[in-house]
Symmetry: C2
Subunit: 136 residues, 2 copies
């Protein structure tokens, strides 16, 4: 018995409007939900990328809440990696460059496969990598 | 042009040994890598769950690093949700109960689908949810 897949991956952002533009327009992800001042969500393949404002999600729900979502919220630079083929990584380098987003690092892994790293507007470390680096 | 999938989802943990036991034995995920004092990784479906010790990943790589992975590292309670069918959610409740892991919250979403929430040993908020809550 083991979990079959990750359904939701979360990052915390300090500027929700900047995050919405970056993930929705620069990366082109499909919107999946938004609550002003709290979060913006995007679909990504068979999963969801959750972008939260930690100050808003650290509060415990009221005792009578209909949806008592437990509190959470981290501070600092998180990490998330998107799948990409070799060709897609090249296309993303062009796209990110056009959008003024710096490529912070790029290298081949010892067992093959390549990664590029960049930052979202809140400083989270994002990556495009070939699933082959994990044997996937 | 949009990312096709999330490949790696990251959480930060304060006790790496406890995290390894929890994710590897209680949740039963398949190991995918480990560096003592820094991280433990697990496969999950077509993705990877990365569990980092933030104190070890916040350091910038040396200028001549062969693999100059950019620094990152968050503090506080992160969030990650695994996919599960209705039947699987019931089985996980039993499994978590047997392992002494409290179910912090459980509810049905307004549009259908159910979630259960619990904590990893570092306090991260974990969830099992039916992909139907996202129309997936």
């Amino acid at each position: 018995m083991r979990p079959s897949a990750v359904l939701e991956s979360a990052l915390y952002v300090t500027d929700l409007a900047a995050a919405e533009h970056f993930y929705g327009t620069v990366l082109g992800l499909e919107p999946a939900g938004k609550v002003e001042g709290r979060h913006v969500f995007f679909k990504c393949g068979k999963g969801i990328v959750l972008l939260f404002v930690a100050e808003a999600t650290r509060h415990a729900p009221p005792p009578d809440a209909r949806l008592p979502v437990p509190p959470h919220g981290a501070a600092g630079e998180g990490h998330l990696c998107f799948s990409a083929t070799e060709d897609e990584i090249d296309s993303w380098k062009t796209r990110l460059n056009e959008a003024g987003v710096a490529i912070e690092a790029e290298f081949e892994w010892p067992r093959g496969g390549r990664s590029i790293y960049f930052r979202d507007p809140s400083g989270n470390s994002l990556e495009f990598a070939n699933p082959s680096i994990w044997g996937l």
